[in-house]
Amino acid sequence: MKSKLIERIRFLVICAILIAVGIFLLNRYPPTGDIIKILPDDNATRTLTLYNKFESSKKLFVLVHGFEEDSLEKATRIKAILERQKSVESVFFNVTDVSPRVQSYLADNYYYLSDFNATPLSSQSIQQRLNESAQSILSGGAYVSLDTQDPLHLFTQMQIIAATMKDGFLVVPGKGYCLIASVSPSISDMEASRRMYDEVNGALAEYKNDIVVFSPNFYSVENSAFIKNDIENITIFTFVILLGVYFFLLRNRTLLIFSVTTLVVSAIIALIAVKGIFGDVSILVVAFGAGIASIAEDYLFMLFINDDYRHHRFNKPVFYGFIATEAGLLSLVWIDFPLIAQLALFAAISLAISYVIFAFFFRRLAFYQNERSEKSNAIYLRLFALRRIPPVVFLVVSLAMMAYALPRISFDPNFRHLDYQNQKLMAAEALFNETLGGDKIPVLISAKTMEELLVDAEQFRAAVPKSFSIANLSVSQHKAQIREAQIRSFDFEHLNKELETFGVSAGFRSGTFAESYNGLSHLPPYRMDEGAIAQLGVEVLRHDGVISTIGYMDEADLGKLSGLGFAKPIIGRELLSQSAMAALEQFKSFFLVASLALLLIVAMVTKREALYALNFLLFPVASILCMLSFLEGYTIMHLFALFLMMIYGIDYGIFLAKGSSVTSMRAVIYSSITTFAGFGILFFSKVPAVYAIGESTLVGLAAIVLLFFQKNTKGA
């Protein structure tokens, strides 16, 4: 008795230390909510990852409702507040918010950045233009001043800001004033994004009823908080059901403490291992962690109810089931799809640790069934008698359901459908997108050198004139040299003489044009300033020997990109879909190989009972496929749940086929209840990815319940 107590205390102390270290590590290296990190590493996701590295994607938008004086005052105060925040680098609100560096860049390079009409003008057209200028100054209309530097408008000004202005202020037309802040945290930096979220929302709390605040960073912050809350609620339900199983069915409360401790230790070690191997662990893995880890309880129930602990027996069917499960899960670890690979590795490690603890360490902790529990076998004995449906019926029904479902199921490649649908942020994003040009499509332009990049961007601008890119704000050396030569060969001296003559005849004072085109006689060379260009919203990124920048264009012009191999449009939805389709193809082939391997293992272990055991694999799979055929589209998470149910099916099939006693049936029913607690309960989640697992599990479990009525020749 004393040694049992010491063993148990020692077990709990070791587990407590492991849990404490694990929690410390997980707090220090938290899971990621970044969806790109869980997608296959292919061209599509690499392009998206690169795009997210651009500072220009790090923005925060604030809309102040209305155009009244009060709104403008509020917007001005909000601008001052934002400028004080640590995570905010700069705020753009009106035309005067252009830094001296930018002003000097634009002024110094004005003659390079503007479009220049180098066609010589006839005396007649100079005369005509000057008369028109005089007329426009004198006729009724808004005040017009004469541009004495370029009176003939030979240079056309460049577009430097791609947004809507009103009275010099940035606005969302019809809605109100708008501020755009450049923020420091990148979208993938969850912690920094959360700090920014708290900081900005805290600072603007008093205005919250009058403003709309949006940043792409908010998605990961709000969604992960929602998912965390969702998981907490689900975990409470899971725990309540588990309590019920241990208190009322197993009638061993101490066992509950030790089994939950084992599951927690296994889950934490598995999470740390996944983090160590993959570099990042997805928040979705944490979300499913509780459920996946609880699969291991099957082993405990089977060993405990079979009284293997009391008799110090090694339970072969449980071991075979465990090996088949591990084989299936480990086959998925090699798939090039981080989410599935992470989930499979997590499941494989947590199950292995739990199995070893339950099968070997628990013997020393001396957990024995209550003698009275033999009585509870009575109800299962009655159920045993109801096992009358021949296995061949389940086989035929399974094949029929598969034949019906397979041609009808369709895949939903939109990964965003898996994430929590944050309607509030989606509405805010749409509001700014519609009006600030955010609905333009970003285009990634890459080259080996800066000069090549600028030449490419100039080609992009020529092909898509309504685009906005680095070509609007800078020029290549090649273009700068052409401009210099054009200006040098243009006879400005003669032009100035004509301006004086015809200017006076048009009514202008003598000497009005004395300064015109003066700066052009000693034109300084073009001076590139990446910092100034970045402040105007166009950034250059160097990575792996390649230089990239982002341009923007209308979706309608996408056809004009043909032949421009260096320009890759970034349509997140499509890139993610491409990635999802590639992932599906991979998953399908792995799935097929893994399924065949599992079928073989089950057949080899169960021999003459093979059909009985295989039905535990086929019938739940066929039922889930049938359910999927009624959905608009199934997701990768449905497939993952399908695979999990196959694993459960193998365990149950082998255990019932090999054991085929009342105690085996009892263990499997208890296990089904905990599976419902771990996975079926996910049906109540509001996160689509989690819900998908829940609905598949429920259908799979229903099929397993029906399989309890399958006739077993050995049992009969």
Binding site: F67, E68, E69, L72, E73, T76, N94, V95, T96, V98, Q103, A134, I137, L138, S139, G140, G141, A142, Y143, V144, S145, L146, T148, Q157, Q159, I160, I161, T164, M165, K166, D167, G168, F169, V171, P173, G174, G507, F508, R509, T512
Partner: protein
């Protein structure tokens, strides 16, 4: 919020050494400013967002101007709106506002300095009686409201 006022505007162009007298009225609405000139030409200017539509009543012509790179026109309309709404907050971004008795002086900030030297407004309480704008190119505009 609506406002309507008639005004007389005297513009002096230094480069042409000519003074022109304009007469008209201003109407403000939530999103737009409409200025109707009746003298010397009949023209209607409608500014909405970054767009200005100039309608010549007699010549039956309409011209649309993109204001996004016309800081002079943007300031002109910003000034019109602020003056007729008796609300100087919009102008505070561009100007330092000083008031001494019934004279309000607006000194330009940042790059507005390049276009405007100063603005002097003669007030009667909250009402603006006269506005004098001195441009750096030596042009002046004098507006009197009725």
């Amino acid at each position: 919020m609506y406002a309507k006022d008639e005004f007389t505007e005297k513009r002096y162009s230094y480069v042409l050494d000519r003074t022109t007298l304009y007469k008209g009225s201003v109407t403000m609405s939530e999103d737009s400013t409409v200025v109707r000139y009746v003298q010397p030409d009949r023209k209607v200017l409608t500014q909405t967002g970054k767009q200005l539509i100039v309608e010549d009543i007699d010549a039956h012509t309409t011209q649309t101007i993109d204001l996004s790179d016309r800081i002079d026109m943007v300031l002109y309309f910003s000034f019109m709106r602020s003056a007729y709404r008796k609300d100087m907050s919009g102008l505070k971004t561009y100007f330092e506002v000083e008031r001494e008795k019934n004279i309000m002086t607006l000194l330009p900030k940042k790059q507005v300095k390049r276009a405007i030297e100063k603005i002097v407004m003669t007030m009667n309480g909250d009402e603006i009686q006269k506005i004098l704008i001195n441009f750096t190119n030596r042009d002046t505009i004098e507006i009197e409201t009725h």
